[in-house]
């Protein structure tokens, strides 16, 4: 029995001694039923805390740090001050002491900005496809990160904590809500298998939450899940007969041991695995999609094939009731201390069209209202460069400002929240942190971040630790 439920129960008993008698008893009985159910089907849908705006969430994780002033936060002052020395202040050195040991030059954006959509949103030439869906997006330009190191910042993005060892957002959400399709994993991770993010599966770990809530990594080429298929040489007919024999032996054993509920749970798990073997390949069978759709996602081009295929997989998974799908770019894809022109152009090319296609595709299928799409990285970048030759210059890590976007149910499309200073160096109004982003996502999915707790190592753990603030101005 999960120790958490166990403890909750004990605490109620304790309360009944302190005068909450009958209420506690009732609660205890409720919980025992719930505990038994949770043991049998950990992914069964659970009641949310409040009425949810969306059923599913797709998180497009932009690893490495996207430059805000080259994407969605235009800074005319940068162009004016291009190639001049960055004014030095204590503020600049607070989080990166090493960076300002010598003068640094302001770097104007190599890309032009234009206004798009009815909302007149500024988008740089790097994102021509995203530009076509801006009326469906809400931008937040004032997110601050907790740590300027990639690994720590990615942990913070995923688990709310800069060290390894906490549970990830997808695990928390499936722990809180279960999932709608019992034949597919509730939390699916779609990384670039050739270049996993730092620390790999620790970024989608259930950690202290039960293992049922760990992210399941699916690969876009080759076998999507480890050991999904029968081993070579075992036919479907063989497997059917094996399953029959297994059922019969397990039944013999069960008949002698009714008192152990775990035994039935494990029998159920085998049946589920058996169903997953057929359900997963059909969920991921992209050949059933039209050529037009495949091309919309860029699956026909080598640059966009990987991210595009995974965006399409994400749509098919949420369509089938998967609760949380997380995509990753290649590890550190957007990191561009060196030549940002080449780097950002390349990664934007790989991700812009697929991400925009995902929004369009969800919308035309009527899925955008019940899905939340979030596009974010672990931090932003600096307005200045270390290089003296600006033709090959890059931008460094910046935890004080980054731009992210949201789309889907519950989102006020076409709005902007927060702003940065003239150089885009630092968020100056409407400042939010990772835990606020987490609180916002949980809220839209029907969860209250303060109520979503799990008792571990002496305290009630939360994704947002002591709590986050919803980004109210982007909520419809």
């Amino acid at each position: 029995m999960p120790v958490n439920l166990e403890l909750a129960r004990r605490r109620f008993l304790y309360q009944s001694l302190t005068g909450l008698g009958s209420l506690a008893l009732l609660e205890q009985l409720n919980r025992e039923t719930a505990a038994a159910a949770a043991l049998r089907l950990p992914m069964a849908p659970k009641a949310p805390h409040h009425s949810p705006k969306v059923k599913s969430c797709i998180l497009l994780t932009m690893l490495g740090g996207v430059s805000q002033m080259d994407s969605f936060d235009p800074k005319p002052a940068l162009q004016r001050l291009n190639n001049t020395i960055m004014p030095f202040s204590k503020d600049n050195v607070a989080d990166q002491p090493g960076l300002y040991s010598k003068p640094r030059k302001i770097l104007g954006s190599p890309w032009a900005f234009k206004k798009y959509g009815q909302c007149g949103r500024d988008v740089s030439d790097l994102f021509p496809h995203t530009a076509t869906v801006v009326d469906d997006l809400a931008f937040v330009r004032s997110i601050q990160a907790e740590n300027g190191n990639h690994p720590a910042a990615v942990f913070s993005l995923n688990t709310g904590w800069t060290m390894p060892g906490r549970a990830s957002m997808g695990s928390w959400i499936t722990y809180g809500l279960g999932s709608e399709n019992q034949n597919l994993p509730g939390f699916v991770v779609l990384p670039d298998p050739d270049s996993l993010t730092f620390s790999g599966s620790q970024q989608w770990t259930n950690s202290f939450l039960p293992a049922a809530y760990q992210g399941t990594m699916m690969r876009w080429n080759g076998e999507p899940i480890f050991d999904l298929r029968q081993p070579a040489g075992v036919t479907t007919e063989d497997r059917t007969r094996q399953m029959e024999l297994l059922r019969s032996f397990n039944q013999d054993h069960l008949n002698g041991n009714f008192a152990n509920p775990d035994l039935q749970g494990r029998i159920d798990a085998y049946e589920l695995a058996y169903r997953m073997q057929s359900e997963v390949p059909s969920a991921l069978d992209l050949t059933s999609e039209s050529d037009a759709t495949r091309e919309m996602y860029g699956m026909n081009l080598s640059e966009t094939e990987s991210f595009g295929t995974r965006c399409l997989m994400a749509r098919r998974l949420v369509e089938r009731g998967v609760r949380f799908v997380q995509l990753y770019t290649k590890s550190q894809a957007w990191d561009s201390h060196g030549d940002i022109r080449t780097n950002h152009a390349k990664v934007a090319k790989e991700t812009d069209q697929p991400a925009a296609a995902l929004i369009k595709d969800l919308k035309r299928r009527g899925l955008l209202d019940s899905t939340l799409v979030v596009w974010m990285g672990e931090f932003g970048r600096t307005p200045d460069a270390a290089q003296t030759d600006l033709s090959k210059a890059g931008r460094d890590h910046n935890i004080r400002a980054m731009t992210i976007w949201f789309a889907g149910g519950g989102i006020k499309a076409g709005v902007i929240a927060g702003e940065t200073d003239d150089l885009g160096n630092k968020a100056v109004s409407g400042i939010y942190r990772m835990r606020d982003v987490h609180a916002t996502i949980l809220h839209l999915m029907g969860l209250n971040d303060l109520q979503l707790t799990y008792y571990h190592l002496g305290r009630n753990m939360r994704l947002t630790d002591t709590g986050g603030r919803k980004i109210e101005s982007i909520l419809s």
Partner: protein
């Protein structure tokens, strides 16, 4: 969920007066009220009554009428007297604060830590923080059932609850249970038969003694400790660098259990091996103790020059919190940012404990291999590697020269002008026809061999991955320890000295550090001596509970690293105290305590009870042990057992971690790490010898609730998820070994199908099949292909519940 939260809140309020760091309480609870209602007059250069209210110091320093508050005592606080109207003029001037605001202010002031020694808040805490007294085993109505004092405690409680113990387990179930429990692998069919046939009175005790002396016992029980010690062989985080000699700590733990190292010594070596007095032959003993210090180093580590002070603080926090969880069963980590919300551990005590580590730094200590580490075979291995390297390097050179020539010719340039990157690009370019696939393969394999040996050599360096003490004059001064408000480095509070928790000592006094002035500061030694002393109220109880937990599936306290108020509470405090005191009497011998527990009638009960329903009504969770709990194979036992049954298990002498096949597929996603799969023999080593890379847990272990290597893991989860079925039914490992197992069965049983079926049941489940099962199996095999039918049948048996759950 809502309801639960509400109840938890009520509980928090009922528990009431938790102490809080005065500055935190001021900031969180007082300041907002003062800003709203008082700041208009009581701030700036000419405050009313000469009293400013912007900081805690202002309030305590007071104004014309003396201190505005007395931390910890609202009734004596002028501020409260004035807002209540007990003194005049009533404040705020011309108004009345809402009653709720006034009472919240008073509660907040009462919560302020006035530097008082915390006291037990209830009888449970009073018991927990006092040295265990040795209780007399109670008298039971039925003396027949009692085999040793453990049973007296258990039975007396069962009797008082109207419960009956379950009948004894049958011999087959018992030998399987104790085999898995002590060795992590199943008995062979011959061992099962011999035991079931042996009706002598000492048969079971002999079996227990034999298994306690078995090499495999050390490997099985060391794994439990490595879980606690958050052991891994890499740093974690992005770079996840290897710790080439971390394996020595793993082998140290295996030896410690195998040799029944007294637990007090085991503690002292791991916390202060460099500072404790040596007991054995000095040199060898010292080596062992330095390796033991790996305990303090096992945490995750993010090497980053930019964040050195923060990293140092994280290191201190990791050592302090882990020490608290593992040895004391206290969630000390909770008191890093604020006073512990439930247990009488003020934040200050956390930093007083942390101060014991203030002089500890990370260090790789040059320590020769001890005789137990078989230095001769390690040296032989190094020579082999070096020879292999020389040979391979030569081959690599000639392969490269040949390819260079070919490349140069194709580009019409001189071979000596070909730069390595140019050549590498050409070799990697699979679209070019310049090199044949064979040439490419040969090149890659020589390069891989070199890399593999370069990786391997540092693992044989006689170095202990350990810590050292900062000692003047090498390092001018040990850094002071301060309370860190909210746990943040830039919010330094009061300076503290090393000391033990006040709740145990009954007063605040600095620890005596007898070694002061010696070669090392002796700080950790003082801490270790305190933890490992018979007088410590927690140490022996916590360890006895852990041992009990692994034998019985549940601890007496079910949160084995949290004995605090918010953890589980035992219903057998007397039994726990008896075990703890007995442990000390037995000179901290863990094996002696295993023996006691395993020979008890309590352990030998069946898992089912003739009166299951009625007993479960009285005690649904089996808190009173009216039957034995079901035990489930953990990830390592699962893999090791499959190997044992397929005949592929190979004994290991320890040494550097093995690269199992099981990670090879996953490793393709981590091109930054090498995963050179070890040789065939090593594939048969037990799981504990597998190389532990934090960012790449073996997929099989990940789905079967393997220990999260990032923090101390006091108990494994036991979840049931579909991917487990995929791993066990489709995975390459189990399928491969099912084939080996099938050939072994044929070897033993010959061509007779019924004999094969019988043997398969006996090897995998430790019993013969029933008639129906034989029929069923015969039907299955009749329809199967002769070449792999038996292997497929073995697969089924490896997947049945009866194999995975132990009666």
């Amino acid at each position: 969920m809502n309801r639960m939260l509400a109840l938890r809140w009520i509980l928090a309020i009922a528990l009431g007066a938790t102490c809080g760091n005065a500055a935190d309480v001021f900031r969180e609870s007082l300041l907002p009220v003062l800003q709203t209602h008082c700041a208009k007059c009581h701030s700036g250069n000419e405050p009313g009554g000469n009293l400013r209210m912007e900081t805690l110091d202002h309030l305590v320093g007071g104004g014309k009428r003396g201190p505005a508050i007395v931390p910890g005592n609202s009734n004596e606080s002028l501020l409260i007297q004035l807002v209540r109207g007990e003194k005049t003029p009533r404040m705020p001037m011309g108004g009345v604060l809402p009653e709720k605001v006034v009472s919240d202010l008073a509660v907040a002031i009462d919560r302020m830590d006035a530097g008082k020694t915390p006291t037990a808040r209830n009888p449970y805490q009073a018991w927990l923080f006092a040295k265990p007294l040795r209780p007399a085993p109670p008298v039971t109505r039925d003396p027949q059932w009692v085999k040793n004092p453990i049973d007296s405690f258990i039975l007396a409680q069962l009797e008082s609850k109207g419960l009956q113990p379950a009948p004894p387990a049958n011999r087959r179930a018992l030998i399987r249970r104790v085999y898995f429990d002590l060795t992590g692998v199943p008995p062979t069919p011959e061992e099962v038969e011999a035991f079931t046939a042996d009706s002598s009175p000492g048969a079971y005790a002999n079996l227990v003694d034999r298994l306690l002396a078995d090499r495999r016992y050390g490997e099985r029980w060391a794994r439990h400790w490595l879980d606690l010690a958050r052991f891994a062989e890499t740093d974690g985080f992005a770079v996840d660098s290897e710790r080439p000699t971390a394996w020595r700590y793993r082998d140290y733990v295996i030896r410690a259990f195998r040799d029944d190292k007294p637990y007090d010594l085991f503690i002292k070596e791991q916390l202060a091996g460099d500072e404790t007095k040596t007991t054995g032959p000095p040199k060898q003993d010292r080596g062992e103790k330095m390796v033991a210090l790996g305990f303090l180093r096992n945490g995750t580590w993010l090497p980053d020059a930019n964040f050195q002070t923060q990293n140092r603080q994280d290191f201190l926090d990791d050592m302090t919190a882990t020490m608290g969880s593992v040895f004391l069963g206290l969630t000390l980590g909770c008191a890093r940012c604020h006073d512990h919300k439930y247990d009488p551990i003020p934040q200050k005590d956390y930093y007083r404990l942390q101060a014991f580590f203030a002089s500890t730094r990370q260090a790789e200590q040059p320590i020769a291999f001890t005789p137990e580490e078989s230095p001769a075979s390690l040296r032989r291995k190094v020579r082999e590697l070096e020879d292999e390297y020389d040979a391979t390097a030569e081959l690599a050179k000639s392969v490269e020269a040949e390819m260079k020539k070919k490349f140069a010719a194709s580009k019409k340039m001189k071979p000596e002008d070909v730069l390595p990157p140019m050549l590498n690009r050409a070799i990697k370019d699979t679209k070019s026809a310049l090199f044949t696939p064979e040439e490419r393969k040969r090149f890659q394999s020589t390069q891989d061999s070199l890399a593999r040996i370069e990786d391997a050599l540092p693992r044989y360096r006689p170095v202990a991955y350990a810590v050292a003490d900062v000692v003047p004059p090498d390092v001018p001064a040990v850094q002071d320890t301060h309370v860190l408000l909210r746990g943040e480095l830039d919010s330094k509070g009061e300076k503290v000295e090393s000391g033990f928790p006040r709740i145990v000592l009954g007063a605040e006094r600095p620890a005596e550090i007898p070694f002061a002035g010696a070669r090392t500061s002796g700080r950790r030694n003082a801490l270790a001596e305190w933890i490992a002393s018979p007088g410590n109220p927690l140490t022996a109880r916590v360890m006895m509970n852990r041992v009990w937990q692994h034998h019985f599936g549940e601890g007496l306290v079910r949160t084995p690293s949290d004995f605090g108020l918010n953890g589980d509470r035992t219903v057998q405090p007397q039994l726990l105290d008896w075990l703890a005191t007995e442990f000390v009497i037995q000179k901290w011998s863990i094996k002696a305590m295993h023996r006691l527990m395993l020979l008890s009638a309590t352990y030998q009960q069946a898992t089912s009870h003739p009166d299951d329903g009625a007993s479960a009504k009285i005690d649904p969770e089996n808190r009173y042990f009216w039957r034995m709990n079901w035990l489930r194979l953990d990830a390592e036992s699962l893999r090791d057992s499959v190997l044992a049954m397929s005949g592929k298990l190979r004994p290991s002498e320890g040494g550097p971690g093995v690269y199992f096949h099981g990670n090879a597929e996953l490793a393709k996603s981590f091109p930054q790490f090498h995963w050179f799969v070890s040789g065939e023999r090593e594939q048969g080593y037990r799981s504990i010898y597998g190389f532990q890379r934090r960012s790449m847990m073996m997929p099989m272990f990940e789905v079967f609730d393997g220990a999260n290597m990032s923090e101390t893991c006091p108990r494994r989860q036991t979840t049931t998820v579909a991917p487990q079925a995929l791993t066990l039914f489709n995975g390459a490992f189990v399928n491969e070994h099912a084939r080996h197992l099938a050939s072994r069965i044929v070897e033993f049983a010959g061509p007779n199908v019924d004999r094969q079926i019988d043997r398969a049941f006996r090897v995998i489940l430790g019993r013969p099949p029933t008639k129906d099962q034989t029929m069923n199996a015969r039907g299955f095999l009749g329809k199967s292909r002769p070449e792999d039918g038996l292997a497929q049948f073995a697969m089924v048996l490896l997947n049945v519940n009866e194999f995975f759950y132990l009666e």
